[in-house]
């Protein structure tokens, strides 16, 4: 009798847990299908123009913010690492430590977060607005596949832009480290670049490249998905639902970047 009561008191909890788990699994499945379909539609005709346009918006227009953040990240790294390495008398390896930190870790992660904030939020807001003003329905009625026309170019452009912007971030970051380490703190210029050349190899660069590709897929898919299905939100309608979708897209993207960074790193190690 007692166990029955206990069982029944736990039932709502398990019901709640089961429901939440099912929701998460359903959503993950929906996102996976959404990405697969959109990815396949990248290779349909009449996509080149749209993709180039998105590369301009996501890639070229994000380069300023990436340069700025990359420069200061490199400068801070130069300062902090000089201080730490100085304790061990190893300031000569500053170049390689700055470069490896940027190429393997900070470059892909910070670039992805920067693009999420700048272009990812714009993707969600734009697609969400198109959705609530029936423009996505209008595309459908004109026999233009909305996913092909709106989502696929964003995913393709992200896959192209993320690695390029990450490379730019890394390069500018290394120059930032040079500014503080060599120009301000007097580390030997030759040693700075020699250590980079000696310790950074293709495996490190490939790792950073793989991460940026993974982040590109995750960020673009999450941001487009949030905008595309903004009308299905149950917590709000209209413009409010677009703003909530944009917030969710940025938060989910940043969290996913950090989680997937750990997962990918553990695979690459």
């Amino acid at each position: 009798m007692e166990s029955t009561i206990k069982d029944s008191s736990l039932l709502p909890f398990f019901h709640f847990l089961g429901k939440k788990t099912m929701n998460v699994i359903n959503n993950l499945g929906a996102v996976a299908i959404f990405f697969t379909l959109a990815f396949l539609k990248i290779f349909r005709p009449k996509q080149i123009r749209e993709i180039i346009q998105q590369v301009f918006y996501i890639g070229a227009k994000s380069s300023n913010i990436v340069i700025l953040v990359g420069l200061f990240t490199g400068m801070v790294l130069g300062l902090q690492l000089f201080y730490t390495l100085n304790k061990f008398g190893s300031q000569g390896v500053l170049g390689s430590v700055v470069a490896l930190t940027l190429i393997r870790e900070l470059g892909p992660v910070l670039t992805a977060i920067m693009i999420t904030a700048r272009a990812g939020s714009a993707m969600t807001a734009e697609i969400g607005n198109l959705r609530i003003s029936e423009q996505i329905d209008a595309l459908y009625t004109m026999r233009i596949d909305p996913q092909r026309y709106l989502v696929s170019p964003c995913i393709a452009a992200s896959i192209i832009s993320f690695p390029l912007l990450t490379a730019l971030f890394d390069l500018i970051g290394i120059l930032g480290g040079y500014l503080t380490g060599v120009v301000l703190l007097g580390v030997d210029k030759g040693a700075y670049f020699y250590r980079i050349h000696a310790y950074v190899n293709m495996v490190d660069i490939r790792g950073g490249f793989i991460k940026s590709l993974v982040f590109a897929v995750l960020v673009s898919t999450i941001c487009c998905y949030q905008g595309y299905f903004t009308h299905l939100r149950t917590d709000s309608y209209g413009a409010r639902s677009v703003s909530l979708s944009t917030t969710s897209a940025v938060v989910f993207s940043c969290v996913t970047i950090l989680i997937s960074d750990y997962v990918v790193t553990s695979f690459l190690m």
């Binding site: 009449k46 607005n129 029936e134 423009q135 329905d137 209008a138 459908y140 004109m142 233009i144």
Partner: protein, 416 residues
């Protein structure tokens, strides 16, 4: 019997447990204008969204030329959809694209036409819709009426076989509303598409419709011609018309049809069957002028005719209402046919001498140099008694129709 182009069989649609369409049956025939009327929120948009596949029914089936659309293969379904265009209630124009880009979008994305061909086609639609000055503007820079015309141009640019118009005249003034409806009727005739229209613009929309469907509590409560609709005496139709029709026709200032009926009953139906009444059925060659030139000319003439009739016969106790796109029925109570004929002749003289030249001035900027046309005014006069039905009087007046005035209207070419 003719197979309907599109047929709904027992379509049911529910949203969050609420039944919007309840086993709705309807037929849409080829090359006709079918108008769906019904109260706001009765599910008219839901109904037409099923036609293009934006919504799918919970129960029932939709047939295209007798074939259920849900049984169509992908290619067949795409072929079916390629024949349909949809004009949204809120226009659904792309804010970040110019007028030209908005209209060109379906051609750029779904056809293999060359750039020049697309440009030619788009520019021709832009000119037809009188949007030339707005070609490079963004939708946000346009008035509501212009945005509507851009949406209409976009809907027609692919030369569709079926066009679905979801309240194409909302947020328009009476003249613009009539122009849009006339444009739909004109292009339907010119391009031969089938139009399905949702509209509240009574009576204007009736005059261009071949078929009326009344959606009432989720079901098609009436399906037939305007004449049948007007003849049908049913509390539901009366309730609907009373709820939607104003006291006066906004375009002409004449009485609305419902008001006309009650005025007729009130003025003449006081129990005395011997009250004399003379009815005059005026008609104008407006459809011809609309097709020959552009709807604006015909609408301006109609508007002016309405005002003239009101001003002349109103002080004499007469009252008028539009009974078709180019016919106005005027009732002159307590007047015999001889006196009424005298008045009509006097009115005709005034029309020829004063009003029609004024109309020419009104439409001067709407016609081009060298364009010339004739306005004909016909009138059929009949005498009846207050116990006669309006339809009976109209029929009799129609049989007596003869020309009472004409005017050669035009704009001379620049002598240089």
């Amino acid at each position: 019997m003719e197979t309907p182009l599109i047929e709904f069989r027992g379509i049911t649609k529910r949203f969050a447990g609420k039944t919007i369409l309840d086993k709705a049956d309807l037929s849409i025939y080829e090359n006709q204008i079918t108008t769906i009327i019904g109260k706001s929120g009765s599910g008219k948009s839901v109904l037409i969204k099923h036609i293009i596949g934006l919504l799918s029914p919970d129960e029932g089936s939709i047939l295209f030329r007798g074939k259920p659309v849900h049984e169509m293969k992908k290619r067949e379904w795409e072929g079916y959809r390629s024949q349909i265009s949809y004009m949204f209630q809120n226009n659904a124009l792309f804010d970040s694209m110019t007028v030209f880009e908005n209209i060109a979008l379906p051609l750029r994305q779904t056809t293999n036409l060359k750039k020049k061909e697309i440009e030619k086609k788009v520019m021709s639609r832009i000119e037809q819709m009188e949007l030339t000055d707005a070609t490079r503007k963004y939708p946000a820079e346009l008035s509501g009426g212009m945005q509507k015309r851009v949406a209409l141009a976009r809907a027609l640019v692919t030369d569709p076989a079926i066009v679905l118009f979801d309240e194409p005249t909302t947020s328009q003034d009476p003249i613009r509303r009539n122009i849009i409806l006339s444009m739909i009727a004109h292009y339907r005739k010119k391009f031969g598409f089938t139009a399905v229209l949702i509209s509240h613009d009574i009576p204007d929309v009736f005059f261009i419709s071949d078929r009326i469907l009344l959606l009432w509590e989720g079901k098609i409560a009436f399906n037939g011609s305007y004449e049948e609709f007007a003849r049908l005496k049913h509390p539901m139709i009366d309730e609907f018309l009373m709820s939607i029709e104003g006291l006066r026709d906004e375009l002409t200032g004449l009485l609305s049809k419902e008001m006309f009926k009650s005025r007729y009953a009130m003025t003449l139906g006081s129990g005395r069957a011997d009250t004399i009444v003379t009815a005059v059925l005026f008609s104008f060659n407006l459809n011809f002028l609309s097709d020959l030139f552009r709807p604006q000319v015909a609408i301006e003439i109609l508007k002016s005719m309405g005002e003239n009739l009101n001003n002349y016969f109103g002080p004499l106790g007469g009252f008028s209402s539009r009974h078709s796109r180019e016919e106005i029925l005027t009732i002159l109570p307590h007047l015999g046919i001889e006196k009424a004929t005298e008045l009509v002749n006097d009115f005709a003289q005034r029309l020829e001498k004063e009003s029609l030249p004024e109309i020419q001035e009104l439409i001067r900027d709407k016609i081009e140099a060298g364009e010339c046309f004739e306005i004909f005014v016909n009138a059929g006069i009949t005498e009846g008694s207050s116990s006669d039905e309006i339809e009976q009087i109209m029929k009799s007046a129609d049989m007596n129709k003869k020309r009472i005035a004409k005017y050669l209207c035009g704009k001379e070419r620049d002598s240089k």
